[in-house]
């Protein structure tokens, strides 16, 4: 099966310019060499803490940001080489849902206008049918068709997120990048939206890239999970494997740090010390080494490549052998 999306060594750097001549003084290495594949019909989760580059990666995948370097193939075709009309028509297949349903809808447009916009931009249906299509979309996402003349402020957060989802669905996309789509919602509404996204995936055979900082949501919703730290993927695996058998010390700490319902009051013990360093000047070698409890000689020298740690399981850590297929800590790798 060919991958829907094949990403090779993708980089997105943001220059920091200062002074009269706006010279580039430094760079934010938001995404710094990411390679991954997304298979048709699957849900790939991207997790990590703020500043790890998960949102930048999501936006670069749909070319809301132009990458600094790297390659994106969409169904085997060089997506980054597309220009003009070809790019525009390709964009129909790639849609995005954002975190903040208050910021992502134009307050001066009625819901009907918001939902007619994609049809207008892509000239996807005759003008007189647009309203009808908008009503149908509202029903698809579980809202009443007669909401079509209302303005975004008349809706609750959950309803607005449904409208954003309806907009993303308008042109029958193949791939939807959902950036923290439930993070701003209350728990009871969060469950409704996650169920809606699942239903739509089944009905329209969608592929999702699901970005979230919430590991419980990712474990529930995704098929595979990629963990990011300072612009790079440090571990990627099918979710059962990742949550049962996390290899990277960062992934282990991240999972351990999730507060568990019903665990009972306990003595808090932070899973990690320190904070995520700046992506402007990331630490040398493995970016995680200053916080890593398993750090040893050499971690500050070379960045470890992603190596095979099991079926579909890859990890970037010195603890694991460099040779493909080697599982477990490398011999003599630890002090």
């Amino acid at each position: 099966m060919t991958a829907l999306l094949n990403v090779r060594d993708l980089r997105k750097h943001f220059p920091i310019r200062k002074g009269l001549l706006r010279r580039e003084k430094a760079r934010v290495h938001a995404v710094d060499g990411v390679s991954l594949e997304v298979q048709p019909g699957e849900t790939l989760g991207l997790v990590g803490e703020s500043g790890c580059g998960k949102s930048t990666l999501g936006r670069t995948l749909v070319r809301l940001y132009e990458p600094t370097a790297g390659r994106i193939e969409y169904r085997g075709e060089d997506f980054l080489a597309l220009r003009g009309e070809r790019l525009r028509s390709m964009r129909r297949n790639l849609q995005m849902i954002f975190q903040d349903p208050f910021a992502s809808l134009d307050p001066r447009m009625t819901v009907g206008q918001v939902l007619a916009e994609p049809f207008k931009v892509h000239d996807a249906c005759p003008p007189r049918e647009r309203r009808e299509r908008a009503c149908a979309l509202l029903e698809t996402v579980g809202l009443k068709a007669d909401y079509v003349n209302r303005y975004p402020h008349e809706f609750s957060g959950g309803q607005r997120q449904r409208i954003s989802i309806a907009r993303a669905m308008a042109l029958n996309p193949e791939l939807v990048v959902a950036d923290e789509p439930v993070s701003a919602l209350d728990v009871s509404i969060q469950a409704q939206i996650l169920n809606l996204l699942k239903d739509l995936q089944e009905e329209f055979k969608l592929t999702y890239v699901f970005i979230s900082h919430d590991l419980s949501v990712v474990d529930h919703f995704c098929d595979r999970v990629a963990v990011m730290y300072l612009g790079r993927i440090i571990e990627i695996a099918p979710k059962d494997e990742l949550f049962r058998n996390p290899r990277h010390p960062y992934t282990q700490a991240l999972i351990e740090a999730v507060p568990r319902v019903g665990a009972g009051k306990k003595k808090m013990k932070p899973a990690l010390k320190g904070e995520v360093p700046s992506p402007i000047t990331p630490p040398s070698g493995c970016h995680f080494h200053p916080r890593c409890p398993m750090r040893h000689d050499g971690c500050d020298r070379a960045y470890p490549p992603l190596v095979e740690a099991g079926p579909g399981h890859r990890v970037a850590c010195q603890l694991y052998g460099q040779a493909a297929g080697t599982v477990g800590p490398a011999a003599g790798g630890r002090p």
Binding site: E49, L215, S216, P259, V261, A263, M268, V276
Partner: protein, 325 residues
């Protein structure tokens, strides 16, 4: 052994006078918090958990108003104190930390200056002495190089460090009662763990009573001795944490716990709670949860259930509780 009661909230009612008429954001809440204990208050947006906290601190401003009830701190009613006395108490006997540290920190003053102001005001120290105290607190909350940070402006600190600075400021006068309103919601999960540990260590050291507000059931489960579940301005259920997590009785508590994803739980769909929280200005007569409740009975439409003890320490406001488990 029951610890000495530090805070006792009696039938608190806070009303916002809006153009659409009076809205009861908090409607008859009562609870006690013992010395050194943590009460978690959990609920969704608009349930009144933050308004409850602001009411306790007497920080409700018009059009809002505390319209009934008592807030007793060691038996003294804070709601009937003159404002000057309340100012003496705020920051010294009771303190509050917020989700967004910039709510509490002034962006144009250095961290040290703000801490000094409070310490001098409440502890009657000189600037030199209060600087020592502020540095001690910054060190205690784990801020690296406190001397430099003392002269930093809030925006020069990271989110986690700002949260620590706010905690240092709130606890600099060793309050006996701390209200923590979603203190870790804006933080990354590994930083959240660090801040929760910090609050817990300081609580033990100062024997503080803590009211911990959050929408996160995982956090509440790990930090609280007792949990109060709120819905639409009212209390649904209150119980010791283990009991509430193991055997919740209120249909809302049960539904809330069912609806959250948990690591390792394999279900294709989450049992979501249908519908949305009703607007506080259009609350139906009777139980506020009736329109979303799977166990609704005739009586729920007519009468509002009161919070009543059903077992030692377990209080419930429901006519048809979940008992089949």
């Amino acid at each position: 052994m029951t610890p000495e009661i530090v805070v006792s909230v009696r039938n608190l009612q806070t009303t916002f006078h809006t153009r659409a008429g009076p809205v009861r954001a908090v409607d008859g809440i009562s609870y006690d918090i013992g010395k050194g204990r943590t009460l978690g208050i959990v609920g969704e947006s608009g349930c009144g958990k933050s308004v409850t906290s602001y009411s306790l601190m007497r920080l409700i401003e018009p059009p809002g108003e505390v319209t009934a009830g008592q807030v007793l701190l060691h038996g003294e009613d804070l709601l009937s104190l003159p404002e000057e006395r309340m100012e003496d108490y705020r920051g010294s006997r009771l303190a509050m930390i917020f989700q967004e540290p910039m709510t509490a920190l002034n962006p144009v003053l250095t961290v040290g200056y703000q801490m000094d102001e409070q310490i001098m005001r409440h502890m009657g120290l000189t600037r030199r002495q209060s600087r020592e105290r502020a540095l001690e607190m910054l060190e205690l909350v784990g801020i690296p190089s406190p001397r430099e940070r003392y002269d930093s402006y809030p925006h020069q600190l990271s989110g986690g460090m700002r949260q620590r600075a706010m905690i240092a400021m709130a606890l600099s006068c060793e309050p006996e009662f701390l209200i923590a309103d979603e203190p870790t919601t804006a933080l990354d999960v590994t930083i959240q763990g660090q801040i929760l540990e910090l609050i817990q260590q300081l609580q033990e050291r100062l024997h503080m009573s803590v009211q911990f507000i959050t929408h996160d059931l995982g956090v509440i489960s790990e930090v609280s001795d007792e949990v109060l579940v709120m819905y639409a301005g009212t209390a649904c259920e209150k119980a010791p944490t283990d009991l509430l997590m193991d055997a919740p009785l209120h249909p809302y508590t049960v539904a809330l716990m069912e609806s959250i994803p948990r690591i390792g739980r394999r279900i294709p769909r989450l049992p979501a709670i249908a519908g949305t929280v009703p607007s506080l200005s259009e609350l139906p007569a009777g139980c506020p949860f009736q329109n979303r409740c799977p166990r609704v009975v005739e009586r729920c439409h007519a009468e509002r259930p009161a919070l009543k003890a059903v077992a030692p320490g377990h209080e419930l406001a429901c006519f048809n509780p979940v008992d089949d488990r």
